[in-house]
Symmetry: C2
Subunit: 205 residues, 2 copies
DNA sequence: AGCGTAGCGGAACAGAACGCTCCGCTCCGC
DNA sequence: GCGGAGCGGAGCGTTCTGTTCCGCTACGCT
């Protein structure tokens, strides 16, 4: 394999490793664990991302972009809101967007990230709004519920159960006359507030 | 307040703090974070538990005992399997048994813990068996599904949404004709194997 | 009232862990 | 045959964390 091809393959391997390790162990995963998972040395890791924070940022923005692309595609290709929603959620679990939740608040977020998040919010609102209008998605959930659900589900350890569990939740999401959900409904601020700009990482207390 | 009363109150404060901090941040939460959360100095923490591993073990065994007591009570007091199951799950979320999942495999488990777990397995089997026999719990879930669900749910960060989310899952658990769940069903070994005895903590890679 | 001590908080220490740098090596492409 | 792009991983300095230790407080007994 050419040097260039190896580099390209390593680019993706590093991204996937970082995403999975962050999703599994959280923001304070050691860089060496990521390098090891990618099957790459520290040198190769640091040539791509000058610092750990850069890596985190890259994982977040790329994950956001990829999941948003899935949302757009689901909206464009699926015949109805429910199938768009389920397809989107399934893809997010595959994409391990739970890494976002594990990384939230652990490094200074950029303005670009907030802009990306805002666009994401719009498209998820669109999907859930459509499914609710159809009457296939229960009326007492919010789009923030959906985002929180996806986060948790894709933060689950790798294994055969993530999709099984998602299916369970989807059945709950569709349940028509099961009584209304208790407690206040989360709104977008519950999601966004995890990311408030900060000079230094939040303490772990 | 008498010295003795203060000590008693600190006992419980330390336990609750450790449970919540472990559930929130995971097994490598600093002891100082636990002391701070309990509103107690390091000295008071270490007088109660000679080492961090002792604390972890105590959190695990006490959580197991308390949750098992809830299971017994639900079984004894509730009129049917479904209400016993929902009550038990709700109480587990309150008890933050998700700390167990975050601690699993991070320290050598004792034989006592395995014995406790075995008893827990029996009573959960009993509850789910009853609910399934009634036809209120969907037939394609296993008791390991239930345990995994409880773990994840009570590992969610504190806040108003844990019970809301549990309600969502419960609706999915009850859904009658929603198609069968994808993938292999987890069994008890998926739960038990997290705890295999080991001389030193598992690496974080 | 005075004192012994149980219980407390937190500074300090030693060692482990981690981010990051650096360097010698490999092997593609000319 | 050679120049250098790209690689792996040992090592450095720092930060973090488990644990100890000590001086202090104030309850309760005499």
């Amino acid at each position: 394999m050419s040097r260039r091809a190896e580099a390209d393959r390593n680019d993706e391997a590093v991204f996937l490793a970082a995403r999975d390790v962050f999703a599994d162990v959280g923001a304070d995963a050691p860089m060496s664990a990521i390098a090891a998972r990618a099957g790459v040395g520290m040198g190769s890791l640091y040539r791509r991302y000058p610092s750990k924070v850069d890596l985190m940022r890259a994982v977040c923005t790329t994950s956001m972009e990829r999941s948003m692309a899935e949302a757009d595609r689901a909206l464009a290709e699926e015949p109805d809101g429910w199938s768009a929603l389920t397809r989107y959620m399934r893809r997010c679990v595959d994409l391990r967007v739970g890494s976002l939740a594990r990384l939230a608040g652990m490094f200074p977020a950029t303005a670009e990230m907030f802009a990306l998040a805002e666009r994401g919010q719009k498209v998820i609102d669109e999907i859930t709004g459509r499914a609710k209008a159809e009457g296939t998605l229960r009326a007492d959930v919010t789009s923030a519920d959906i985002v929180l659900t996806i986060s948790e589900m894709s933060a689950l350890p790798a294994g055969p159960y993530r999709h099984r569990w998602l299916a369970l939740v989807l059945d709950g999401l569709r349940a028509p006359g099961a009584g209304i959900l208790p407690g206040p409904a989360p709104d977008w601020s519950s999601v966004r507030d995890r990311w408030v700009y900060q000079e230094s990482p939040v303490s772990r207390s």
